[in-house]
């Protein structure tokens, strides 16, 4: 056990614990933009700077040590935090009200609020790059990218597909795919890690764009106009009142966006995640708390849900008649199934009937299927197709 004096209160930390984790556990309010517990320290954003015995350190990159005295709120630490965040804002336009990432979990928005930023001193600088829309599932907007590097860390060291990097030596750094290819022609396997960990709207699922917000589906010209208006009033009103508007819009979203936990239907790893939906539209798959996968997914779990609302879905029972299928009511279909199964059993015995359960169905459904075979028909002829895929 390690004892740390945190803003005048002695807190107990675990050996090897990161200072940022201790601060968060203690309910502290140190900003941190690039730090994500499942990525570890990335050290790009500098917003978690705190003061330790007169010197400034990054809380994410420091392990707690016995006897440490930490001030998170000293004038020096606060000034450094704000300065660091100002640099971030020079890479990002705060058009939150018309941004599809304005859902209460935007790190840049929330940090602006936490630090009570009113005006930015370093003006926003556009980067000389186009938006990259070449991947079917997500897009990258360099102008909104704060260069925190979470996406790079996730791609290089969590997914380990090693596609993303940042060209730090360039006058205008940005995230690169395969060192400078389009996303579409890169080695990107569309696993979605980068999009999942992006703390703002630089990397967004295309299924979110124009769908998550109330005003985000407006035409581009209208949106640009609104963004200009916001930029115009900012010097006078400050960000505080602008954020109030976006938070009102965000509150409205909460009423129509549902977040439901599910478990992936593809392979046997057992990834689980929240599915964000608006009516029957899937806004995005949000992995974070799954015991097997955390922030991880593959392309199928993150983006492969086109089958759910596909027009090919069967929506009525079918009965074969004279070599053709015709639509039937549930009552008729179930009646026919029961009648034919009973007749077969009566004529040729229970063991002339067999059941194959699905390796995609739930445990409860598999259980009922074998119960139907054993307890209702009276045969042990029950298997899963996966019997072939163990």
């Amino acid at each position: 056990m390690v004892k740390v004096n945190l803003d005048g209160v002695v807190r107990e930390g675990q050996p090897d614990e990161l200072l940022i984790d201790l601060i968060n556990r203690a309910g502290g309010s140190v900003p941190h933009v690039c730090y994500h517990p499942q990525l570890g320290p990335v050290q790009t954003c500098d917003t978690c700077i705190v003061e330790e015995n007169g010197r400034l350190i990054r809380a994410c990159a420091t392990k707690v040590a016995d006897g440490m005295t930490i001030s998170t709120k000293s004038a020096k630490a606060s000034a450094a935090q704000v300065e660091a965040f100002d640099r971030i804002l020079s890479n990002h336009l705060l058009y939150c009200t018309v941004c599809d990432n304005n859902n209460g979990n935007c790190t840049v928005h929330n940090t602006t609020k936490l630090l009570a930023i009113e005006h930015q001193r370093i003006p926003f600088r556009s980067k000389p790059y186009e938006v990259d829309n070449t991947n079917p599932f997500y897009r990258y907007d360099p102008d909104q990218c704060i260069l925190c590097g979470r996406c790079v860390e996730a791609c290089q060291n969590v997914e380990v597909n090693e596609t993303l990097s940042i060209n730090w030596e360039d006058p205008n750094p940005r995230v690169l795919w395969d060192g400078g290819s389009t996303i579409g022609e890169s080695s990107c396997v569309s696993c979605g890690h980068c999009v999942t960990v992006c703390p703002c709207n630089a990397l967004m699922e295309k299924s979110m764009l124009g769908h998550a917000g109330f005003l985000t589906s407006l035409k581009k010209s209208a949106l640009s106009g609104m963004i200009e208006v916001v930029k115009g009033v900012e010097p006078e009103t400050g960000y505080g009142s602008i954020l109030q508007v976006s938070e009102a819009e965000e509150a409205m979203r909460e009423h129509r966006i549902r977040k439901t936990k599910t478990v992936c239907t593809y392979c046997g790893v057992g990834c689980s995640f929240d599915v964000w939906t608006k009516d029957r539209h899937i806004l995005k798959i949000a992995p974070e708390h799954g015991p097997a996968n955390g922030i991880s997914t593959c392309v199928k779990g993150k983006f492969g849900w086109g089958h759910i609302n596909h027009e090919d879905r069967l929506t009525t029972p079918l009965i074969r008649e004279d070599g053709k299928f015709r639509e039937a009511s549930w009552k008729e279909a179930i009646g026919l199934v029961a009648r034919r199964l009973s007749e077969t059993k009566a004529k040729d015995g229970a063991d002339s009937v067999a059941f194959i359960s699905s390796s995609k169905c739930t445990n409860e459904e598999s259980y009922l299927m074998q119960k139907l075979a054993r307890a209702v028909i009276g045969t042990n002829n029950v298997d899963t197709y996966c019997g072939l895929w163990r």
């Binding site: 990335v42 790009t44 500098d46 400034l56 450094a80 935090q81 704000v82 300065e83 630090l115 009570a116 930023i117 009113e118 930015q120 001193r121 060291n157 997914e159 090693e162 940042i166 730090w168 395969d178 080695s187 936990k261 599910t262 992936c264 392979c267 057992g270 599915v275 392309v299 492969g304 086109g306 089958h307 759910i308 879905r313 069967l314 029972p317 079918l318 039937a328 179930i334 199964l341 063991d351 009937v353 067999a354 995609k360 169905c361 739930t362 445990n363 409860e364 459904e365 598999s366 009922l368 074998q370 139907l372 209702v376 042990n380 029950v382 899963t384 197709y385 996966c386 019997g387 163990r390």
Partner: protein, 595 residues
């Protein structure tokens, strides 16, 4: 498959530990598993530990898949010979005093008989039969002996062989003699293919087992279920799905009810299965799409996909997790549990389940293995890894105190090598391997319905080695016909060095040209798992060249840029960077805030 194996040696039918154990292991050995494509998120954990934490990696596969390329040691044995090198490693370790004798003395039965069974597996014999050099086999042995903890992961490349269960047993034997059970970072991991393969067998969709792996011919078990269900139960083992197909052909099986499986395409020797379905007097198929199998049905019932129902799935690490209903079922569809209940009630069963949680409560009451499972303990992201005691205690790592046999000890189970079926000859001169692609699930009934996936990976193909392509005049896009002893398919070639020599690989992502039209009905005699991976074909080059079956936008054509991470040090070296708060930062002044 793995169930048979681990019940032979350690007791339970499932992964002996968790994904976190694979992460922690000092050495990971992957055999016959294209982990990066078939279990992508497990692969990330191994890749990450290998890249960042010095974990060692050995891969044995025919194909140089991503894990093979990352491995410290890549073994490419002759097809179907993993059992041999595994047994040779075991013999070498025992002969050279490298086995974990204290562990063997304390925890393992059957050593003498096992040693005797290893007699044929000398290094010389292994080199001759597997094509791996003696030196390579010795290196494997020393890497395992020197590792503090070893996990072995395997999948269909092992199990879909006529000696799949014996090879799985050889893996478990090797882990036992090296003491690689009972501790974090060790154990055996037969990776499950489908999301709920584990759960389906856990819950009694097996011809010889009631839920919780309780034998149908055990009178005590049967009595418990008879009391619970208030019926008399059949006591003789039923047919497995392979035997069902045979029984239809023999005229003994007349009616079948099948849920959610594209059996007529993905089954080995697909032609033979289709012919069987045609002979059924009555066939019910329940699915969410009109699958190929539906064509044979008399009644088709529209079920509901995972997002439209409540329930639980059990993953490869024995982890039971809840899924919540995201959408109402499409109008006209019903969750499968409701449909089954309706059929049962029409037959007079009188079931009255209002919610899947009630079904789980019944399961828990009848299966000691799931005694403590209930929906409250699985709420939200909470999960349980079976066995689950009545008080809710679960076991992320099995066998920490004892093995699951009456005396608490594991058993070495001797196996011998017989050799694969459907071998190449002069006519069928090429070995055909097959399996999954990252982007598609199985034949693609679900994944082709996502436009972006279809765009990037539109079709199946057969991978041809550069050597063979040169010899036969094949380029990417050349149409070829593959002819086996059982059937033929027409498919485009993809020339790649992922495959070597006369070995082909064909992913199974096609309904029109399913690879399993080429595979045989040979099975593992222990489990009746088909030997999908044992297929020989003749390749006929057709006089037609199309586009490459994989478009340029497929990630396999990309060029990754591996580096240590975000490499923030490079940012710090920029002339315009200074740490904030030190007053020398690019003339920065502090912001105005309301604080």
């Amino acid at each position: 498959m793995a169930r048979t194996t681990s019940t032979r040696t350690v007791g339970y039918g499932g992964d002996s530990g968790s994904i976190t154990d694979m992460e922690k292991a000092d050495l990971v050995v992957i055999i016959g598993s294209n982990t990066a494509e078939s279990h992508p998120v497990i692969a990330t954990r191994v890749k990450s530990s290998h890249k960042l934490d010095g974990q060692k990696l050995i891969v044995s596969d025919l194909r140089e898949n991503e894990m093979a390329r990352r491995a410290d040691l890549f073994l490419h044995p002759k097809p179907g010979t993993d059992l041999i090198w595994l047994s040779a490693v075991s013999r070498y370790l025992l002969d050279n005093g490298l086995a974990h004798t204290q562990f063997l003395d304390q925890w393992v039965n059957g050593l003498d008989q096992y040693r005797k069974s290893l007699e044929p597996f000398t290094l010389e014999a292994a080199e001759r039969l597997t094509g791996l050099s003696e030196r390579t086999i010795r290196t494997v042995a020393h890497m395992i002996a020197e590792a503090k903890s070893t996990c072995i992961l395997w999948a269909m490349g092992v199990t879909q062989q006529s000696q799949g269960s014996d090879t799985s047993t050889a893996i478990s034997n090797l882990l036992l003699i090296t003491g690689n059970y009972m501790r974090p970072g060790t154990g055996s991991y037969p990776l499950r293919g489908h999301n709920n393969v584990q759960g389906a067998s856990d819950h009694g969709s097996m011809p010889n087992m009631l839920p919780g792996y309780q034998l149908v011919d055990d009178p005590e078990v049967r009595q418990r279920f008879e009391t619970g269900w208030k019926v008399k139960l059949p006591s003789t083992k039923g047919l497995d799905n392979h035997q069902m197909v045979e029984a239809i052909h023999e005229g003994k099986l007349k009616a079948m009810y099948l849920i959610g499986e594209e059996m007529s395409i993905v089954d080995s020797n697909a032609n033979y299965v289709g012919a069987a379905f045609e002979k059924l007097d009555f066939f019910v198929v329940q699915d969410i799409f009109f699958s190929n199998t539906c064509r044979y049905a008399d009644v088709v019932l529209p079920g509901a996909p995972s997002l439209e129902k409540e329930g639980t799935f059990t993953s490869t690490e024995r982890r039971i997790q809840r899924l919540y209903q995201v959408f109402e079922p499409l109008v006209g569809c019903q969750p499968d549990w409701k449909i089954i209940q309706d059929v049962a009630n029409q037959l007079g069963a009188g079931w009255n389940y209002q919610h899947p949680s009630e079904i789980m409560d019944e399961i828990a009451s009848l299966s000691p293995m799931f005694a403590g499972v209930n929906y409250e303990r699985l709420a939200g992201y909470k999960s349980l890894q079976w066995p689950v005691a009545a008080d809710g205690t679960d076991e992320p790592l099995l066998y920490t105190k004892r093995f699951a046999f009456p005396d608490g000890k594991a058993r070495l189970f001797p196996v011998s090598w017989i050799g694969p079926t459907d071998q190449p000859n002069a006519e069928f001169d090429l070995h055909l391997n097959n399996g999954r692609l990252l982007e598609h699930f199985h034949e693609g009934n679900l994944t082709y319905r996502t436009e972006g996936i279809r765009e990037k990976t539109p079709d199946t193909f057969v991978e041809v080695s550069p050597e063979l392509a040169e010899e036969r005049g094949i380029q990417s896009g050349t149409w070829v016909q593959l002819i086996s002893r059982y059937g033929k398919v027409r498919v485009r070639a993809l020339v790649t060095d992922r495959v070597h020599g006369k070995e082909l690989y064909m992913p199974m992502n096609s309904v029109e040209s399913p690879v399993n039209r080429l595979t045989s009905s040979h099975t593992d005699p222990v489990t009746n798992t088909p030997a999908y991976k044992e297929a020989s074909v003749h390749l006929k080059v057709l006089n037609e060249v199309g586009d490459s079956p994989l478009p340029r936008i497929n990630p396999r054509f990309g060029h990754p840029t591996p580096q240590g991470g975000v490499e923030v040090e490079r940012k710090w070296k920029r002339a315009d960077y200074a740490p904030p708060g030190n007053g020398n930062g690019n003339g920065l002044v502090q912001l105005q805030t309301k604080k």
